[in-house]
Subunit: 243 residues, 2 copies
């Protein structure tokens, strides 16, 4: 692990990259302890501050964790899917809000990816995942639910569907698409009639998955996508008119 004396980049960037490369290449295996900050400062021939800033960069990406004390130090993190979810969701949300992605485009992406999971989920869904979908659908039918709570339950329903595909890679990739839509969905106010329609579609989706009927499930998800898009259109149109 060395840094290029010719480079004009900030030291902390170079050091972080150097350590990152060592982690990616496997030179530094999971749970390996890095040299102490002072030792790293000596090795790279820089000050401890620069090393610390580099380590903070890596920590922000969950590549390392630090512990204080005698046997403490910086350790290579075992990057787990659960931990990566949050970053994935935050980034996806920011991307949507900063790039003027239309509701339609985001919605299309979300349902397209979700529909891809359906054939697998129809085969593999567990009773437990089905129960979650039923429970969330029931919750959505309760009167007095706020729009936010309704949307949160909606996300939980669809995550259960995605998890039904029993593929952690899929679940991870979909987390961003599904959850990043929530802030957009939260902007919609759902009438009782809207909710009843969605609950109906959710029920049919669960039914289809229960009977391992991928084709029907796919069709209903397609319906749900179109219904959601129309709903958003009418809500946004109304809001524009009121203003």
């Amino acid at each position: 692990m060395k840094i290029d004396p010719e480079s004009t980049a900030d030291l902390s960037v170079q050091i972080a990259q150097s350590i990152k490369d060592a982690i990616i290449s496997g030179e530094l295996p999971v749970d390996e302890r890095l040299p102490s900050e002072s030792e790293l400062a000596d090795q790279f021939d820089v000050s401890r501050s620069s090393v610390r800033e580099a380590l903070k960069r890596l920590a922000a990406q969950s590549l390392i964790r630090t512990q204080r004390g005698a046997t403490g130090g910086a350790f290579v993190n075992h990057l787990k899917f659960e931990n990566a979810y949050h970053q994935q969701i935050t980034t996806s949300s920011l991307l949507l809000s900063m790039n003027e992605v239309s509701f339609e485009t985001a919605c299309e992406a979300r349902f397209t990816l979700e529909r891809a999971c359906v054939p697998l989920a129809a085969q593999r869904r567990t009773a437990d995942q089905l129960a979650t979908m039923r429970a969330e659908t029931f919750r959505q039918s309760q009167p007095g639910l706020t729009d936010e709570a309704f949307c949160a339950s909606d996300v939980a329903f669809h995550r259960a569907l995605v998890d039904g595909a029993d593929n952690p890679v899929l679940s991870y990739q979909l987390a961003g698409a599904v959850e990043a839509m929530q802030p957009l969905m939260n902007m919609i106010t759902f009438s009782a009639r809207d909710r009843a329609k969605i609950v109906d579609l959710h029920t049919k989706i669960a039914d289809a998955l229960e009977s391992h009927d991928a084709e029907t499930c796919d069709q209903i998800l397609n319906d749900l996508m179109h219904y959601t898009t129309e709903l958003a259109h009418s809500v946004f149109a109304k809001r524009k008119k009121d203003k």
Copy 2:
């Protein structure tokens, strides 16, 4: 923007979170200049080092950029899809290598997601994207290509397919799935016969997209997935036997 004096978390973590919240909520809009490091240190009542470590954390997530000089400072970044790709790919690659994800699982996820794009790509693919797919397929048919170059061209082919769906959100989400597979694919040595078979399937995929035939394209991608999985199986089996 304040931090909790009761919290036991590191100062740089709290400060970073506080600024991050302000960015996500829109309180700090894109291209807004943050207060200088010294001003932030005063505001949060901490030292400049702690502020700097917090800013490095944010920079590592591309949430801010910094500029030196008189009119410099830290600015809220416009998070673009192109920039987010790399992080997405790095994270996906590390997740695959650290979580003992089987080749089969990763392959399934990748092709499942890619097949989801097919109906859209069959409708919307541009002549340009089709040309890219043809060109990469041609490159793959050249003798003397290293396995790495063959895989890289393979990735380029499939990215063109995904981009054909003309949905930036989809392209972003798929980047992780498609490119993170490359290191795994690179472990495979392709015989001339394997390559010919893949080139054949790629040609058929391009043909199907050219004639807007989503169904055929989907079937061939399914074939490609199974062929890839079998190929990997036989290669890994042989390697195990040799050892």
